[in-house]
Symmetry: C2
Subunit: 114 residues, 2 copies
Amino acid sequence: MKISELAERTGLSAHTIRYYERIGLMPPAPRNGATHRQYDERALNWIEFLGRLKTTGMPIRQMLRYAELRAAGPSSNAERKALLSEHRDAVRQHVEELIACLEVLGAKIASYDD
Amino acid sequence: MKISELAERTGLSAHTIRYYERIGLMPPAPRNGATHRQYDERALNWIEFLGRLKTTGMPIRQMLRYAELRAAGPSSNAERKALLSEHRDAVRQHVEELIACLEVLGAKIASYDD
DNA sequence: CTACAACTTCGAGCGCACTCTAAGTCAATA
DNA sequence: TATTGACTTAGAGTGCGCTCGAAGTTGTAG
């Protein structure tokens, strides 16, 4: 598929997809006749996974590290797993924090009923 | 207390506290002899509450709106409550999203054990 | 009274993550 | 073949939330 279709299917803009490639988040896309980028389902899956990382607050720096490991092949599996595990711990902690804030928020909201 | 103590107790920098005042997030602090800012516990509580809003992802714009309503007095209670309720809904939704991402993350992590 | 750390204002600078513009090239359709 | 719309690059611009620096003033300890 072309970049416009990938953009539509991921919800990103074509600009952003090129930006991701530029900074190394996406592998250089193969070209249709040395010019236009051609994408497959793998690219779609990758962007969707990046989206999860982003939603969960991972900074681009760290995604970049993960992308590098991915590009390095299966020998980096252990490190990739470690990276994701650490991130998961951070996300879990953040969720706990949010839930605690929801308590406070709920109390505040209830206090307006006095 | 002076700004340095408030900074220490809130974890913000004095720079940031002045910035908050500048943009209207904090009410103008009373001065000790027309110069140095003097804070009380209420200021501390307010900053801590702002911290909850920030942790839960509220943009400064919206905090500003809330701060304005607060400054307007009790007549704004209904609107304040509505604002916080909406925010709470958004936070709850975000937590759901994070939990869904944790599932995906967990699956990915497990997949490295093959 | 002097020294000096902590305060003051104003405005510039920064890091992040895009987002957009300009100017040009290419591919598919009529 | 001509048009037209989507693609290309490089680089500048944006919005957010601080963060810092410079230059000057003030309050307190010795």
